[in-house]
Amino acid sequence: MVCESWKAKLDTYLDGELPEGEMRAFDAHVRGCPSCSADALTRVQMKRAVLLAGKRFTPSAEFRKRIQESVAPQPRPPVGLGFGLRWMLAAAAVILVVGTLTASYVRSRSSRDQIYSEVADLHVATLASSSPVDVVSTDRHTVKPWFQGKIPFAFNLPELQNTEFSLLGGRMTYLDQTPGAHLIYDLRKHHISVLVFQERSLKLSAGWDEALLAPKRLPFNMETWSQGGLRYFVIGDTSEADIDSLAKLFKAAS
């Protein structure tokens, strides 16, 4: 299939709406095609921009109160009232319960997706940058001291001997206005980002799952966990098993 055929389906791919087999084929193509990966990046940026620009209007407190009052269940009617009125009250109660559960689910999912998007943006933007790392070194004893004085915490980098991973370097980064470390690793010519932040500085941390799953919209796998007061993210386009292997090396080193 020539690139034009792929590009015609690029939006559908980025929306996560292609059949599973086609998604995998697309993943493989995008990784090896600079033109399609550049187009994918610009379209992801636009999706992200529209998402942020689209969350624009917030209801006033007065309006919220008015709606709450209008849908709130009325006092229990005396026995003998019509079936219709009792049914209406039951329906209102069901809506409120469903609403609470649904809103909770949506908030939780939205929060997870937001975190995923932020981390994915950091990963993609860094790889697209002409200088993805500020400290270029395969030696962890060079990279770790470079962060001293630049970020308000210290962390350990794993020993990579006898593994397929190699360290390419690191840079400072920010998530949720919190400074952190961004490390880039290479695995069979794929780049994997490891991001480390102070857990208590991240306002979004409440309710995170230890195994944060990436939405199907983008071709990345991600793992996150908290250890020793630090929040780690490992993200890349390699398999879940590869991401997990690197995560385990960090867990063992911390």
């Binding site: 929306d15 610009t42 636009m46 709606i67 809506i95 809103a103």
Partner: protein, 162 residues
């Protein structure tokens, strides 16, 4: 309340007027409460309540006016995407120029604006959008594609002006 803030945001984008959006959301909840029997348990509650809001909007004066003269589902020329370093998207992100983007989104005709918002902001699947808007999935895809092209075309001159 189910999806209150998101419904309000969507209503504001449709009506482009906060007072009208409040009326629209209020009417949506009233109709949802009255018509709860039409909601089938186990089906998509979000698509159901968005459908009520959207149908209510379409029958309002603003909705009728907004959708009266929009040519739909016209396939345009395939856009040639720039592959250079500077694209409308990257420049917008660098500038954090949300206002320009929001204005371009406001200028999209309602059928394109709504499908773009449901996909990108509400993060609905094509199936959910199809169910909410009552249109086939193929139409969802073509409108979405057209909306994105129109948005890019609208942003390009603004970006070139600096």
């Amino acid at each position: 309340m189910p999806h209150f803030e998101r419904l309000y945001n969507f209503a504001c984008w449709l009506t482009q007027d906060r007072q009208e959006a409040e009326d629209l959301v209020q009417e949506t909840y009233t109709k949802a409460l009255k018509g709860f029997s039409s909601f089938q348990q186990g089906t998509n509650f979000r698509a159901w309540i968005y459908k009520i809001l959207r149908n209510t909007f379409l029958t309002s004066r603003t909705g009728l006016k907004a959708t009266a003269t929009v040519p739909l589902d016209v396939e345009g020329e395939e856009e040639v995407l720039p592959t250079g370093k500077e694209t409308p998207e990257s420049i917008l992100l660098q500038r954090s120029d949300w206002q320009r983007l929001q204005q371009a989104m406001e200028r999209l005709p309602v059928p394109y604006r709504e499908v773009l918002l449901l996909c990108e902001v509400e993060e609905m699947s094509y199936q959910e959008i199809s169910s909410t808007l009552g249109i086939p999935i193929g139409t969802v895809m073509s409108r979405l594609s057209r909306a994105r092209k129109m948005l890019r075309a609208d942003l390009r001159p603004a970006i070139q002006e600096g």
